[in-house]
Structures are given as structure tokens and as C-alpha cells.
Homo-oligomer: 222 residues x 2
DNA sequence: AGGGATCCATGATTGGATCCCA
DNA sequence: TGGGATCCAATCATGGATCCCT
């Protein structure tokens, strides 16, 4: 299949999202000449990448939102049988050995500034092929959310900047947590500890807690 | 031991509570010439009744608060290792076959109108004898709590009044739930179903969810 | 290695069942 | 039976571990 060209306007993106709303993953996979995996154990990112293709996101880009011309990031939200987010949402990797940035200019905030959220049915008992796409929600980070995330981010970055990254566990952060993001727990990266020594640590990522994404859904469907 | 006379004023009650704050159940049991059970499996109400004796509550009374002269009810709150309520709090039995009452006059609200809450250490790994009594909290039902409970109570009573009590399960109610309150699940009482037929149903009780009591503790220690 | 994420063992919660006393 | 409650099996939630693609 030919890759679909990027949408030129937010409205065009929303129109495309409207066209896939309510359709099953089997239907969408067919339009992309793809087969549907029986389960996601060995295809964890499959749904997200399928949706990217359907909407014309520029795949594999780095240091750019999924729709660079629009400054819009795409995030799928897997829903449990109850219609609530089933998983936390990965945002980006945690910078190590990087020069300090401010909240206002950090990559995390840029990614979350404008997001097209796409809820996807994901109850364990529902076969992957039968799962349907919900209706998309285009958001801009609200003042309140900005403050909430800024606070968590600062606490995390303070620990990282002082070489105490290994003290961070997933319990930290009200809305934004830091968790491993690696091939496995033996995949190590170098960084600097509190005494200035080079140590190896697990690569981490920033994740939005389900309470945060649940709130986005709730506000929209209110 | 002589039973202690009822406190004559709220201040006297609070003074007595102050005297037992920080003391272990072993110490308190000793003052009442009681032995401490190794565990509460066969003595589930033991702690509550011990505290009643220590404070001079008129035991075994019906249709009256624990301290009738003061209009004050006594409730112990078992705390887990984290200092949060470990269990829901039983309030009173659910009326069956009773004439309808209003929220303003119902027995539940009268009991909760003024309560002396007594937190008690109750982490599973802490031997009963070593558990200590916390500092007492005397509360009046706030406007907000009154509204919260009224709403739950009305929903419950509506189902009961229309003979649909067997549809009520512990998931109902934001702050106030209804659960079995019986010797065992074979203990049945008669009531009337939606079609006016006499049926047998489990006796039930009203229970406050731990979120409700946790909030009381939080407000006090704020 | 960064971007797309879910898996799943283990801990926390819960609510139906149960226990003693007067 | 009403009042004093806790027990504990089953379910839910969580967060450390892991997987594919480019």
C-alpha cells in the first residue's frame, strides 16, 4: 500500500479520525494490507503503529511530533471492559546526561502540548481483530494539567540532576511517573551518580498515569 | 471490676479518651480484669467492647447511642500499617418491614450525628496485646457528609421499599454500602419482594466505606 | 536507542461470609 | 437479633519487565 500523505490541517486529521471511528482493527489492518496478530505479546506496539499509518503520521520520526506540520502528537489509549484506560501512557524517554532544560522547553511538554487521543477497545477477552477504535479527542494542555505535570517533572528532574536516578521508582509522581523503558532489565546506559562517578542505570521513560488519561476521557464525554 | 459510670459531659468523655490514648490493649484489658485474645478470629468485637467499658458506655443498649445522655456514638477505627482504615465501619442494621422514615429522622443519621472516633492500631503483624489506642476525634456530621450519606441512603431505601433488596450488593453507594450482617449466609429474615410476596433474605447492615472514615482522619490530622 | 506500547507477578483492595456477647 | 466488629478468597491495580520496528 502507498503510505498516506500527512494531513495538512487539524481538520483534515480530525476528518480522517472520524473515518476510522467505530471500525475494527481487522478492518483497518485490511486497508493497510496487514494481518492482525492473534495477541499483542509479540506485537505490543502494533495497534499504535497501525493507527499512525491510517492517519498518515510520519513514521519513525525523532524529536518531532507525529504530525510535525500540525504540532500534534498521536496517542492511543487502550480501554478495559469498563471503558477506563487499561494502561499508563508512554510519553518519551527520560533524558540522561543532557544539559538542563526548563519545563517550558522540555521535550515532554512539547509532545503533550497538543495531542490527538484515540481510545481503543482493549478488554483482555476481546480478540484483537474485533477491537474497535473510538472517537478521537484533540486536546491542548490545560493550565491545570500544565501545573500538575510541571510539578511532577520538576521533582523527577531534580533527582536525576543530582545523580539520584536510582532512587526514582514508579510510585513517585502524582500524574507523571518514571518507569523502565528498555529491551530488558539488563539493558543499561551510563550516567553520573551523586558523587560524580559514572554508573550504569536502566533506561527510563515518562508515563502518564491512568488517572490523568481517565480525566481527559471524562472531561470529553461529560 | 465495677463498671465505670457513664461520662456526664462531652468533656468528661474526652478526658477519659485522653487517658487511654497511647495505651496498649494489654494495658487496657488489665484495668478491666480481662485477658487479651491471641487473635480476633473468635473475638471480632472484642476491641470495641473493651473500649466501651473503658469509657463507660452503657453496654448492650438498643435504639440509643453509646452515650445516651450525650447523644454520642462510639466507633473504633482499625488502622493498617499505613495508618489508614483497614476495614469498613458498621453503623446499624438495615430496616426491613419497617414503616418508611425520612433521612432526617432515620436511625442511621441519628447514630452518625455525633461520633467519638477512636483509631486503633490493627496491622495484621502486630499482636493484639501490643496494639495501641490513638487519640480520639469527636465529630458532628458536616453539611457535606450529610448530603453524601443522604444520597446513598435514599438510593438504598428506594430499592428496599420496592422489594428489590436482593439487587443491592456492596458495590452500591459511594460512601455508605449495604452488606450482609448475620451469623452466616443461611441466616434468613422475611421481607416482601417487588410483587408483594413474602420472601426470605439475608439480614444486612449499613457500613461506611474506608474512604469516608479516612477522610475524617485526614481532616483531623491536617 | 527512541518510538510504538502491553505483559503479568505481586501487592492492595474488597465485599460476601462469619464470629462473640447480651 | 441487634450491636460489637474482623476474616479471607477472589478480584483489581500497579509497576517492574519486556517486546517489535526503524
Amino acid at each position: 500500500m502507498n503510505p498516506i500523505s500527512p494531513p495538512k490541517t487539524p481538520n483534515e486529521l480530525l476528518e480522517r479520525a472520524g473515518l476510522i471511528a467505530g471500525r475494527s482493527l481487522a478492518e483497518l489492518a485490511h486497508t493497510q494490507a496487514q494481518s492482525v496478530p492473534d495477541n499483542l505479546l509479540h506485537a505490543k506496539g502494533w495497534v499504535g503503529q497501525l493507527i499512525e499509518q491510517c492517519l498518515g503520521a510520519s513514521a519513525g520520526s525523532r524529536a518531532e511530533p507525529d504530525f510535525p506540520e500540525l504540532g500534534i502528537e498521536l496517542k492511543t489509549i487502550p480501554l478495559n471492559a469498563n471503558g477506563s484506560p487499561k494502561e499508563t501512557t508512554y510519553v518519551c524517554t527520560v533524558p540522561l546526561n543532557e544539559p538542563a532544560t526548563s519545563w517550558e522547553t522540555c521535550w515532554l511538554r512539547q509532545k503533550l502540548n497538543q495531542v490527538l487521543w484515540l481510545p481503543i477497545e482493549a478488554a483482555a477477552e476481546l480478540p484483537v481483530a474485533q477491537r474497535r477504535v473510538g472517537s478521537a479527542i484533540l486536546t491542548q494542555l490545560s493550565r491545570e494539567q500544565d501545573v500538575q505535570l510541571k510539578q511532577d517533572w520538576h521533582e523527577h528532574m531534580e533527582l536525576i540532576a543530582t545523580g539520584r536516578i536510582d532512587e526514582i521508582c514508579a510510585h513517585h509522581g502524582t500524574y507523571l511517573q518514571i518507569r523502565p523503558k528498555a529491551a530488558n532489565h539488563k539493558a543499561l546506559r551510563e550516567t553520573t551518580d551523586a558523587d560524580g562517578r559514572t554508573i550504569k542505570t536502566l533506561p527510563r521513560g515518562f508515563y502518564l498515569r491512568t488517572t490523568f488519561t481517565a480525566d481527559i476521557l471524562a472531561r470529553h464525554y461529560l
